[in-house]
Assembly symmetry: C2
Homo-oligomer: 134 residues x 2
């Protein structure tokens, strides 16, 4: 019986470690593990085709696979209902673990390459970064 309890406890400890590593990537749960969020919004120029829009989305979505400094990434298109979106149609939430990782991302060649795809179609961009607190 004691041995069974010990095995259960061992399983608990091992998996608690997994939970901790896992959740740190997605959200700030404690001051010690705050993440740096990088919120990027785009409004494209009139005349940007749906194919061009898709190419920009795909190019941004490819960055987490190319730039290790990105520890989490999500995105979506505006579906707000309060008419306060100021024309922005796209939101990308890029997450870093540190300012050093952000400093690696901004001038990264693959990020610059993405900028070349985006640039010709960009009407407005908004970028706000914050340390995620509860």
């Amino acid at each position: 019986m004691l041995r069974n309890v010990l095995y259960l406890a061992l399983g608990t400890i091992v998996l608690s470690g997994c939970i901790s590593i896992h959740t740190t990537e997605y959200a700030s749960e404690s001051k010690e593990h705050q993440v740096l969020r990088h919120v990027v919004m785009f409004k494209f120029k009139d005349g940007t085709s749906s194919q061009q829009t898709r190419e920009i989305e795909d190019a941004f979505r490819a960055l987490p696979g190319k730039i290790d400094a990105i520890c989490d990434f999500e995105w979506g298109t505006d579906v707000s209902v309060e008419n306060r979106h100021a024309g922005f149609t796209h939101c990308f939430l890029v997450t870093f673990r540190s300012e050093a990782d952000r400093a690696e991302y901004i001038p990264h060649p693959d990020h610059k390459e993405f900028g070349k795809i985006l640039g010709p179609h960009l009407d407005k961009v908004l970028v706000v970064d914050y340390w995620a607190a509860k």
Copy 2:
């Protein structure tokens, strides 16, 4: 030995359930469990004191404890380095599980009450919602 393996497996199954429930609250990891993000940015009027700013922050931060429709919440002040923040100083990321939860939140009395605290000091607001995809 077989019994020990079974106990370990049991621990794994129980804790996997916990991981699954836990991470769903924080990020969209699959199409089946996408979350609806509600990104809210503020710029306060010139002359808004640091105490008034703190009262607004605290009032917003209190909403997840008052409105069940909010399934996750985080916030922070702008620390971006690219000068694309358009004057916005505050970003709040409110997460819902569904459009129905958002529809409950928007006219909720506690949300309206928050609006009364915010309103006199608000210069600009931006709201973009998106279904979080990878």
